[in-house]
Amino acid sequence: MTLSVALHHRFAEFTLDAEFEAPGGVTALFGRSGSGKSTVANAVAGLLRPDRGRITLDGTVLLDTDAGRMLPPHRRRMGYVFQDGRLFPHLTVRQNLLYGRWFAPKGQGAEMGRIVDLLGIAPLLDRNPGSLSGGEKQRVAIGRAILSNPRLLLMDEPLAALDEARKAEILPYLERLRDELRLPILYISHSVAEVARLATTVVLLEAGRVVASGSAAELLADPAIAPTMGLREAGSMIIARVAAQEEDGLTRLETGGGPVFLPDVGASPGAMLRLRILAQDVMLATERPLGISALNVLSATVEDIRLGDGPGAMVRLRLGDEHLLARVTRRSVRSLDLRPGAKVFAVLKTVSVGRENVGTAS
């Protein structure tokens, strides 16, 4: 699956001029509000006609303004999950879920029972949308989009309208969609946390332009991009395997840089996890520290250093096949004489990686 998008659209305040490709998996279109993300989503869905543009999905032309072609939304088969749910208020949950079934190609696509189980909405089927909580509404909206048997799932900030608890409730469902259904997803978000949990590919949008794109693991660990993510939010994403559940409530995980201990992650040994490690939680040392409370000391190699405008600096480390991002001060970079190639120890407090930073990986 490849979605190719090239758009040019002039607004009163800014001009959208974006070009990118989304391979399979979850492609996160990341940017601040007002960067043009929703415009891209609407153009892909066919709800907005851009001034100029060309959008193709696996060779099917959805839009080509030069050739005067624009496929109407109902013939694009894009499952759109809106920020505000948009359930039909006059239909029950079941009728909402089945709405797209009339038009979906017969005999293919996900089976209703499976999706209902996957999203945990079986008890809601006979309810009316007006009586659902925000999180329940969004799960039904996701199910409705999937059951229309789309070629691509478009999610426009599906969690933005929910509080933290509801977000935490839905994220695992989105991970299951990604890992079990293998449905390509274009995920629009301004939350680094969500991107780190879900994305396989990231497209970074700033003021209507694509400033970076690539694999999520690479991009999240890029010191040059960290300021765009927000310095406090910046952090890398590594894959770890659950090794054992220890008696004192800690979980031991295997990573490219050695064992890592985290508070109980609630996963059984053998499970693959995706850890988001904030750059500001990583400490660097040139010698293996002794007599320290932090349980995780990983040996790593400095790959790249980017000095900030202020007193800070971002350091990218290599950890086996993966990357770790550390946020330190320029003074420390100088005093430790950090430079690419230097061997260092990355120190990570066990308690700094919370449950919200641990997701599943396929």
Binding site: L47, R86, P89, Y99, G130, L154
Partner: protein, 232 residues
């Protein structure tokens, strides 16, 4: 009370009910279409259409009746055409009374429906289209059900207006007992005869009963529909 109504008076009552029902039922699809067009589409002549629809509300009913007569009368362009090609004659027939009632009630019907169309979130229609529904299907399965309270309200308003329509009707189809004499025309006819007050009063009571029943029914129906639509 009801036994006291003469056969002729009964005919006036049933004729009024029939005229109003036919006028409402036949103008409803056009009313929905015009309301939707005025609420949703930007097109040349939108204000003109809006004005035309509302004209019968402002014009003296006798003017509307006269305009109907010169258009749909036997000598009128449309009247001649209908007579020659379809054998339909409207002037001085009950069908003409239905046409007059429909024209007079149309602005009220369109206003009620238009307001609810404007209240339907177009985002819901967008969502339906991304789920694969073609435009007409979106209209039938999303827009129409959500506009239903307005349609019910509009239809009841139109029916009530049609029951009471007098000026345009009497101008266009006259006041022929048993043929074009509606309830208001019958009351008017009684009042023109010395000593007819008693008979007129009986019909007045009938009119009040029908109006009250229609009002209660409309309240009940619109509440039931609103409950269904709100998704509670």
């Amino acid at each position: 009370m009801f036994e006291a109504l003469s056969a002729e008076e009964w005919r006036a009552v049933t004729l009024s009910l029939r005229v109003s029902a036919v006028a409402t039922a036949l103008s409803l699809p056009l009313g929905i279409f015009v309301a939707y067009a005025l609420a949703r589409w930007q097109f040349r002549g939108r204000q003109l259409l809006n004005g035309l629809v509302h004209l019968p509300l402002i014009l003296p009913p006798v003017v509307t009746g006269y305009l109907l007569l010169i258009t749909f009368g036997r000598k009128g362009y449309v009247g001649q055409f209908l007579d020659q090609w379809f054998g339909i004659v409207l002037a001085f027939r009950w069908t003409g009374a239905a046409l007059a009632a429909a024209v007079m009630a149309f602005p009220l019907m369109v206003r009620a429906i238009r307001l609810t169309v404007e209240a339907v979130d177009p985002k819901l229609e967008e969502a339906a289209s991304t789920l694969g529904a073609p435009r007409l299907w979106v209209f039938a399965t999303v827009t129409l059900p959500l506009v239903l309270p307005g349609i019910v309200a509009g239809a009841i308003l139109a029916f009530a207006k049609a029951m009471g329509e007098f000026g345009a009707t009497i101008t266009f189809v006259s006041n022929i007992p048993g043929q074009t004499q509606t309830l208001p025309s019958a009351i008017y006819a009684h009042l023109q005869v010395p000593g007819g007050d008693d008979q007129a009063f009986r019909l007045v009571l009938v009119a009040i009963v029908i109006a009250m029943a229609a009002l209660l029914l409309s309240e009940w129906v619109s509440r039931a529909v609103a409950r269904r639509i709100s998704g509670q």
